[in-house]
Structures are given as C-alpha cells and as structure tokens.
Symmetry: C2
Subunit: 281 residues, 2 copies
C-alpha cells in the first residue's frame, strides 16, 4: 500500500528507457482537476492545438491518461485510429496540425469497451505510455489526467518529476471549489508548480436576448486561486458551439476563432507561455 | 494485478461482518457515470432525500464512495461533521430527514486535504465503509460512486452482488455518450442490472426571455439507452437554482418543489420505484 509518504515510484526496468524518451521533450504540462466534467480534456486538447498552431506544428504531444473515460480521440476527430506497434515501441496517432496523440481508446476494440482495471495495472499502463511510445523530439507534451488524486495523476507526477507544472480546471460552483483545494494541496505535496487555475463554464449568454446567466455561479475559480495564492488564468464562458465542435471532433479554437470562448482561451495560453518564459530565465 | 476476469474480491476477515451489516439493508442502488461532472452526486443526494421524504424517513443511507472528490457533505449542508467511532464500529452522520451519511470527507481534517491513495488502499476503505459502519436496519442504501470503471466501482459492485441495480447519469453530449457505453458494458460484465439512464443538464431556459438552448445538446441519454436496450429514466434541465441549492447544502427537490428540474426528478424516482416493485414480484 502506498500513502502520501511514498517517495518514489515502484522500480520498473523501463525506468531508463522512460528517461531517455522523456528527455527529448522540452516542456511537460499536465491538466488536472478535482471534480470531473469540468472541461479538463477540452482544455488539454485546445492547449495542444493552440501551441501546434503557433509555431510548434508537428512538435506537440498529447497523452490522454484518462484510462476509464478517454475523450481525446473523439474531440480531435480521431476515432477509430489505432497505434502502430513496431519492435522498438509504438507510434502515436497523428492528429490535426501534427499533434501526436496517445490514448487508451486507440487500443480498445470499440467505444463501448470499458477498461475495468484496478490501480496497479493502471500505474503500469501509464508507465508504458511514457516509456514504450516513440514520442520523438517534442517541444511540448500535454497530459490529460482523470479527475481526482488517485493512481493515474500520482503515477504521472511521480514518473515525471521534471514536469513544468499543472493547469487546474474547475467550474465556478462552491462544490467544485472544495475539490480544487484538494488538487492544489496534492500538487504542492508532490512539489509540482501550479501554473494556474482555469474557470470553465463561467456564465452563459442567451443567443436570443443576450442575457447572461451564471448557471454554475461565477468567480469560484478566482476565489480559490486567491485563497491559495496561485495564479488565476481566466474564465471560459459556456457556449453551445464548444460542445458541438467537440462532438464533431473539431478543436473549437480553430473552428470559432472569433468566439468569446476562443478569446478567453487565447488569454490563458498567453499566461502559460509567460509562465514558461519566466521559468526558463 | 486484477483484470475483468477476476471472480471475487480479495478475502478480508471482515467479509462475514460485512454480510451481517449489509443483510439488514433491503435495497441497494449505486449511482454511476462514465464521465465525471455530470450530476452523479446531485442525483444520489436527491434520490436519498426523495425516498426519505416519501415514507422512508430515518430509513435511508447514503454512502459517498468518491474518495478523492467527496461532495455529498457539502450538498447536504453537513460540512464539518465527523463520524462518531465506538468499539464496535462507527456511526454514520445524520443528514436531513434522518438520512445516514458516510463520506471520506467526515474523516479528513479540512476541505483542502486530498486523499492521495492508490487502488489497494481505496479498495480497503470501501470495504470498511460497508463493514465497519453501523448502518442499522435500512430500507435503502444509495451509493455515490466516482466516475469511471476503476477501483471504487469495481470494489462496490463485487462486495455487494445483491445490488438491485445501477442508475447511470450522463449529459447529452456525444463525448459523454461514448463513456456511458463503457459504463453499461461494465455493469453487464459484473451482472448488475441497469435500472436506467438519467440525462442531466438537458437544455437551459433563459430566465429573461424563455428561449431554450441546448448547451450540451439534447437526446444523447435516450439515444444510448435505446441503442443498448436499457430504460431511459428522464431528462433534468439546467437550472442555476440547482447549483445554488447544492452550494448552500439544500437538496433542490425540497427547496424548489415546483421547479421543472424537481418535476423531472420526481418522474425518475417513480420509474425507479416501479423497477423495484417489478423486481420484488
């Protein structure tokens, strides 16, 4: 059994290979959340596309580390793709703008097949995604982690101590804030910098009359950021086009470049870039 | 390592005690989802309150089995409560209408404290929640499970083979539907009946002009129910008052008994009752 006192991951013989592969990737950023369904995958996918779109085409990787509910392939229109496995490892699937994508979904026979795995097997799968995939030379690897502070996030943060930081996604409700507090404490316990908090689903503007309704309240993300002294990255409004674009497999920042959601997202991207530049100094 | 082929849970000596405690509870229903953040806890909390409110006061239990993101205490206004532990076991905390509630949150020092546990420890915690808690004689035990098909859902469904069934909650988007398909297959693999699917966050009516917008699309829950031949229980619309009530610790069905969301919810409850009556025949 492992508790918060554990200091290193179980030693697998792939450790050296993992290091070799990961050393070729300049920046690694994980997207986490406390609660699920807050737009974590949406954030990870659009971050990857955004960086690929601005100077890093073919140089961005995206690891879908949500083994039970992998949504990255659907959101990038990559359903039905498989990983090509060769003698020295597997090749990531290639998404829009050359983004290299790895997801459990690429290894399953159908959408309806669940991954009914307990912790140890999940730890092993994550390990393999990092060590046995031929990621190649990348500028960025974004990692979409499942909600919570269990096996998958723990494994990734332990295996990649060089992680630049985590982006925490939340919705504005107080119920969500409580769980975000856990995610911040989790990151701090593991000595991973919190790049900042994104407040998603922040307000809805009626397309008919323009009235703004805060369906899930507003300001919760900023409140918890201030209370815990971590940066607040910005608010993304609710927009039916975001859901439509995701369902159709199109990153919304490419499909609706002038939407308020995209503009909000671009501001978040700029803040993450500034964080990385500051870190490199 | 355990895979889908496992046939029984690890043998703990508490097995007999667990049976003794659980045999005193007439009905057990788990609320599950594929994706997180779809309103699983909201459904579990309001199901418990609904049954307690209609003839089962003091006879309903609610187990918050989401160890990483426990939200039940907040939603029932029970924050800060602790479990009282005695020589033969711990007593559940008492919520509105005498609902007996057990949550990891009642064992933590603060909201911000994360449970950084891997699978085996989680399995053990769930086991103890069922065997070491003095639930007493109950008509119903509702179990709020974390998203996905990992350690916690697997442990609960294995430990309680007598489970009446699972209620699966989703939002209408296609991205969510894919993950719901996994949850249905998971339940079938474990021989647990699917009572039906609830489609939450189904459409938003602008409070100013009355225009209905399907922010997360509509019909996805029913579509997947039909495709997999499981009952569709109903749609709950988006309503800012649902979020407000939850944040304030008030079950929305009690605070807004005449709202469309409550009416939709009551229809779902009637269908669950009918399922249980049919089963008893």
């Amino acid at each position: 059994m492992q508790t918060t006192n554990e200091t290193k991951p179980p030693a697998f013989k792939e450790d050296t290979i993992l290091r070799k592969r990961m050393d070729k990737i300049k920046h690694k950023i994980a997207v986490i959340s406390g609660k699920g369904g807050v737009g974590k995958t949406l954030t990870a996918v659009n971050l990857a596309i955004s960086f690929a779109n601005k100077g890093h085409e073919n140089k961005v990787g995206l690891l879908d580390a949500d083994l039970h509910g992998p949504c990255v392939p659907k959101m990038l229109g990559m359903e039905g793709q498989k990983l090509k496995v060769g003698p020295v490892g597997a090749l990531p699937a290639i998404g829009p703008l050359g983004v290299k994508v790895v997801s459990m979904q690429f290894l399953l026979e159908g959408n309806e097949v669940p991954v009914v795995w307990r912790g140890p097997l999940k730890m092993r799968a994550i390990q393999q995604f990092l060590s046995d995939i031929l990621w190649g030379e990348l500028d960025f690897l974004f990692i979409d982690l499942p909600p919570g502070t269990g096996d998958e996030p723990l494994s990734v943060l332990k295996l990649l101590p060089e992680m630049d930081g985590v982006v925490i996604v939340t919705i504005p409700s107080e119920v969500s804030q409580n769980v975000v507090e856990k995610a911040i404490t989790f990151s701090r316990q593991l000595n991973v910098p919190v790049i900042g908090i994104v407040e998603n689903m922040s307000g809805f503007v009626c397309p008919e009359c323009g009235t703004k309704t805060h369906i899930f309240k507003t300001g919760g993300g900023e409140k918890v950021a201030n209370a815990f002294n971590v940066p607040f990255l910005g608010r993304i409004p609710l927009d039916p086009r975001v859901c439509e674009a995701s369902d159709a497999g199109n990153p919304f920042i490419l499909q609706y470049p002038d939407s308020p959601a995209t503009k909000a997202f671009q501001e978040i991207v700029e803040k993450i870039k500034a964080f990385l530049q500051e870190k490199e100094k």
